[in-house]
């Protein structure tokens, strides 16, 4: 008996080795484990044995059966995996083929730089405020220490809608005046007001009748020009890199006194001199100064108590410098291929 069992096990093991496919293993399984198979034949022989022999042989037979099932399953798994792998192999795609274009929009280049500037200022406590583009002469000029007939008005050749009363704002400073008046003269102010402005300039590569300013204002107690310098140091580092330096040069604006022009060390050549900075190592980015006492007074703040500084950037100029754009019309014509590049974070 035992011999027969061993012989059978050997036989099955041999045959399994010869199997070439899942199908052949299954055939083997059907034959050996089936009702008319050799194992069943052996189990029929159990009837002729006494109880003790029965128990012993039954156990042996059962072990054989389990062993064979396990061998066959192992083999079946092997072929299943093999077949799956072959199938998957056949499904291999060309991963270099183009992707599906997921629709995602880009910001306008100006908006890209404005949002960056806004983030820097908001982190320093400045609110972002908006104001009308169709503006009253009062806010655009008069409250800002530019009375009627002042030569500064000639320089900002303005689009008037109604003679000397309604105009398209020539600067975003009126938002500062409005903000001060609204604050009522007894609260500190920190704000920036990015927005569109208009002047009668013929459009060419460097001039635009419509352009964007990012002006800012801080009004508080005991504010000094050194505070403006310190603020600019932070801005320059955040916008143009940690190694940026700033310098002030005396300048003139009607609504600030003292007034300065702010240069940053050229980020292209690190201050060594290149074509971008015209070999000076410095690039002018902003006009700024201490808020003129007349402006404070006009807007409800007592200059004996309050001081402040104001500054202004040209958004186009910043973007042109930073991204190497040489024609200001680029911003307003919008070639979609050009703005697509700006749908990404700053490097």
């Amino acid at each position: 008996m035992k011999e027969k069992v061993n012989q059978l096990q050997k036989e099955i093991e041999e045959k399994l080795k010869l199997c070439q496919s899942k199908k052949e293993v299954n055939e083997l399984k059907t034959y050996y484990l089936g009702k008319k198979g050799p194992i069943n034949d052996l189990s029929l022989m159990l009837r002729e044995l006494n109880n003790e022999e029965k128990r012993e042989f039954g156990k042996t037979l059962n072990e054989l059966k389990q062993r064979i099932i396990s061998l066959i399953e192992e083999r079946l798994t092997y072929y299943e995996e093999k077949e799956l792998n072959e199938k998957l192999e056949k499904e291999t795609i060309d991963i270099t083929l183009p992707s599906t274009k997921i629709p995602i929009g880009s910001p306008n280049i100006l908006e890209h730089i404005i949002e960056e500037v806004e983030e820097v200022f908001m982190s320093m406590g400045y609110d972002v405020v908006d104001g009308p583009e169709l503006e009253e002469d009062k806010y655009n000029f008069e409250l800002l220490n530019i009375p009627k007939g002042h030569p500064a008005r000639d320089a900002q050749d303005t689009f008037y809608i109604e003679d000397e009363t309604i105009l398209l704002r020539s600067q975003t400073s009126p938002v500062q005046a409005r903000t001060m008046l609204q604050a009522g003269g007894d609260k500190p102010i920190r704000m920036i007001c990015p927005g569109k402005t208009y002047r009668r300039d013929a459009d060419d590569a460097t001039h635009s009748h419509q352009f964007m300013q990012i002006e800012g204002l801080l009004v508080d107690k005991n504010i000094s020009l050194s505070d403006l310098k310190g603020t600019f140091d932070v801005i320059a580092k955040k916008l143009f890199g940690e190694n940026s330096k700033t310098r002030f040069r005396p300048s003139y604006y009607q609504f600030t006194e003292p007034s300065v022009e702010t240069d940053i060390s050229c980020f292209a050549c690190k201050g060594e001199g290149c074509s971008l900075c015209k070999q000076t190592g410095w690039i002018t980015v902003s006009g700024a100064g201490m808020v003129h006492p007349n402006v404070l007074r006009n807007c409800g703040y007592d200059p004996e108590i309050w001081t402040g500084f104001a500054f202004g950037f040209g958004a186009e100029r910043l973007a042109m410098l930073k991204y190497g754009i040489d024609d200001i019309r680029t911003f307003y014509q919008t070639d979609l291929r050009e703005i697509k590049a700006f749908d990404r974070k700053e490097g």
Partner: protein
């Protein structure tokens, strides 16, 4: 243009490096844009010792020229070159104007080692037919051979080209003012030029009187000179005028210009014999006419100021003199005017006459009466010296100038505080002395009197701080941060909503554009859907930018056209900008444009076309994001410039907030869809706070139903009725299939009905009951029939 040779008359700068000085001046606030050296190196006086015709040319000569240490051969084409004359020779290495470098070379085979120069070739005269035919400059015989020709030519000068900020023009636009600026930078003193003269017995008051009948002429002063000799100006006057960019004419005209360039005070000389015995200054009469010095007839406005002889105008004040009283070669007696006119009026007059002159620019910036007087005396001095003028005694003067002194009182710490510097009283004293601002100190309080030449300084501490700061040097500033409350800034008002909409539309695939607010009337004619009038500019720069837009859509169409012309196929755009109507009402608009495909993978054949429903999806997504879910509807509407069958108005809480649709094919042929929303209206709406809503834990049941309806019936109408009939357990109704023209004039719309209860599993029978009730209810309306399966 400032001549440094000229400035040297008033301040000692002979030991200064003029390039370094320019840097110092710039740092202190007056921009020296360019330093121009007039000097030309390798320019010497030579003598032509031999002159022969060139063998191969009829106009060239071969000259042997003694240049001091040697005799060089130079080929010269000038007609006046000849043996024995002294000339100006540019030797090899000299760089003439236009960056023209002289080199050794051969001219038609003959060696030439330099160039014999004409004045125009040295940039000292204009190149005209006259100067060209004059030929090379012939130098007087007393000038030594081999000497530096720059000395003879007086080109040993350096010029500064200034970019003076508006407020400083007054005092830096003339040489004495500029000398004061240098003086405070170098801490030196200014010496004013001589202005003494002898007067004859005749008194001006016996010959002429002045009357001023306008408040726009606060100061008018005059003197008279006679027996003048009109001739060429002395060399130094000519040279300096040329250096400053003015053309010398004759001694009298040149002196008036010379004094203007010294003191910044324009003068006007009238020929007394043409002028007569009276001068009346008044406002011009509307349409009054005068022929000015340049021969043009000018029509005046009542805002102009004129000088008259009591009747007719003889000069447009501050702008240009009249032909009728012009000084000419026969003039013997001159009436000299030195006056101040209202700066705003002068600018206005110069603008409307388009007559900006050296004089009008200076009047337009304002003048100070001390220099009005000084200039008058200086002119008499120079006329006596260089035109042999006899100066009449007496001076006429109309004086309504406010002579209040500008005084500022402050303490050092106020200046320190403004600048953020730690200044001492002595620092402030030092800077004030450099500025030559008279001051007193009492109880540590400074009292400073602003000199009249500094018209730009207002009597307040900020102006003083600026003057001290710029001299003390801004490089001395220490960077500090304002001591203010720590907080993060916020977007104020509708700025936040604008940013939210903007970011969402980008996420949805639309690209942000910025376009011009000013558009053409042609553009403004399109998409007039709000019955609003646009603002037309009264004085536009050009027609294509003459209207302030009240909708952004025409501008987006322009961007679409621009990109289409560049072969870009898929164009998804949005813009958020302010618009205005003729009542000056502001509305920020959110405009979108879609054309082409939304999602694309061409090789796989996957495309989602931009159509009405794609645009609608964008709008719905945006409105849902903004918190308006279930509060908006789309209603069929006819809108100009939109396809009559493919356009809708968008309602939020039953109020129209925008429009959308396909652009009318007669306007844009391609399939282009647009939408415009009023951000102002969206901003005014309130939304509920965000809250979590649990989904039902019990299974839902879905029933499909298709109805046959007339083609004109809109799917939403049936949907709303189903919803009403379905009651509480009907959770949602969605269209999932559509067959158009399934039979003539009819279409089939299939709806998916989802039933659900939050607290239990629904029974089949109860859902079926509701479902049948819905079908019966819909059929009962008579507009739809259940479609047979």
């Amino acid at each position: 243009m400032i001549s440094l040779n000229w400035v040297k008359d008033y301040i000692d700068i002979k030991d200064e490096n003029l390039k370094d000085l320019a840097v110092k001046i710039t740092k202190a606030g007056v921009n020296v844009e360019a330093v121009i050296e007039k000097r030309i190196d390798h320019l010497v006086i030579g003598e032509v010792v031999q002159c022969e015709k060139h063998p191969d040319s009829d106009h060239l000569n071969i000259c042997q020229v003694n240049v001091g240490e040697e005799i060089v051969q130079i080929v010269c084409g000038a007609s006046n070159v000849r043996k024995g004359i002294k000339v100006i020779v540019a030797l090899p290495g000299a760089i003439l104007p236009g960056n023209f470098e002289i080199k050794k070379g051969k001219i038609r085979g003959c060696e030439s080692n330099g160039m014999i120069c004409a004045l125009f070739e040295l940039g000292l005269e204009e190149k005209t037919e006259e100067t060209y035919s004059k030929g090379i400059e012939e130098v007087p015989h007393n000038i030594p051979v081999g000497s530096d020709a720059n000395e003879y030519l007086k080109t040993d000068d350096t010029l500064y080209e200034l970019d003076v900020h508006k407020h400083r023009n007054n005092d830096c636009y003339y040489h004495i003012g500029f000398a004061y600026e240098i003086a405070c930078i170098l801490n030196k003193k200014v010496t004013l030029p001589k202005d003494d003269f002898k007067e004859i017995e005749k008194n001006i008051k016996d010959f002429i009187d002045i009357k001023v009948k306008t408040d726009k002429c606060p100061y008018y002063t005059a003197k008279m000179v006679s027996d003048i000799e009109i001739k060429e100006s002395p060399e130094f006057i000519k040279q300096r005028l040329i250096a400053a960019g003015m053309r010398p004419i004759n001694n009298v005209v040149d002196i008036s210009n010379y004094v203007m360039l010294e003191y910044g005070q324009p003068l006007h000389f009238f020929d007394y014999d043409k002028l007569g015995r009276h001068v009346l200054v008044r406002d011009a009469k509307e349409k009054e006419e005068i022929i000015t010095l340049d021969g043009n007839k000018r029509t005046l406005r009542s805002t102009d100021i004129v000088i008259t002889d009591g009747k007719k105008p003889v000069c447009i004040a501050g702008v240009m003199g009249g032909e009728n009283t012009e000084v000419d070669e026969n003039t013997k007696t001159i009436f000299i005017e030195s006056a101040i006119f209202d700066a705003v009026r002068i600018r206005y007059t110069a603008n409307h006459l388009d007559l900006k002159s050296e004089a009008s620019i200076r009047y337009g910036k304002g003048l100070n009466f001390e220099y009005t007087d000084a200039a008058l005396r200086r002119a008499c001095h120079l006329l006596q010296k260089y035109a042999n003028a006899k100066v009449y005694s007496g001076t006429l003067c109309h004086d309504k100038v406010d002579k209040t002194k500008k005084v500022v009182t402050f303490k050092t710490e106020e200046v320190s505080q403004l600048l953020g510097l730690h200044l001492t009283d002595n620092d402030v004293k030092t800077e004030l002395k450099r500025l030559d601002f008279p001051f007193e100190v009492k109880n540590q309080t400074f009292q400073v009197t602003i000199p009249r030449r500094r018209l730009d300084i207002d009597p307040n501490v900020n102006d003083i701080a600026e003057e001290i700061g710029r001299l003390y040097g801004y490089h001395n500033l220490v960077s500090t941060l304002p001591k203010v409350e720590t907080r993060r800034g916020v977007y104020v008002g509708d700025v936040k909503l604008r940013k939210e909409i903007s970011r969402r539309l980008r996420t949805l695939g639309l690209n942000e554009v910025k376009t011009y607010t000013l558009i053409s009337p042609e553009m403004a004619n399109h998409f007039v859907y709000e019955q609003k009038k646009s603002i037309s500019l009264p004085n536009p720069m050009s027609v294509d930018k003459s209207i302030i837009r009240s909708t952004l859509l025409p501008s987006l169409v322009q961007v679409y056209e621009y990109n289409k012309a560049r072969n870009i196929k898929d164009i998804l755009l949005y813009e958020i900008s302010k618009t205005y109507d003729s009542k000056y009402q502001e509305d920020s608009k959110v405009a979108m444009l879609m054309k082409g495909n939304y999602i694309i993978n061409e090789w796989q054949g996957i495309t989602t076309k931009c159509d009405f429903y794609c645009m609608k999806g964008i709008v719905e997504n945006l409105l849902d994001y903004l918190g308006f879910k279930n509060r908006y509807t789309f209603e069929k509407e006819k809108i100009s410039d939109l396809h009559p069958g493919m356009c809708a108005k968008i309602l939020l809480d039953h109020e129209e907030v925008g429009i959308m649709g396909r652009i009318h094919p007669s306007y844009v042929k391609e399939e282009v869809y647009v939408c415009e929303l009023s951000m102002k209206k969206l901003y005014e709406k309130q939304i509920k706070p965000l809250k979590f809503k649990e989904t039902s834990k019990y299974p839902s049941m879905i029933k499909d139903v298709a109805f046959l309806v007339d083609n004109e019936i809109q799917s939403d109408i049936i949907k709303e009725k189903i919803k009403k009939l379905g009651g509480r357990l009907l959770e949602s109704v969605e269209v999932f299939d559509l067959y158009e023209n399934i039979e003539p004039g009819k279409k089939s719309i299939a709806y998916k009905l989802t039933f659900q209860d939050n607290n239990r599993t629904l029974e089949d029978s109860e859902v079926l009951d509701i479902f049948h009730k819905i079908i019966q209810g819909i059929e009962a309306t008579g507009m739809a029939k259940l479609r047979d399966k």
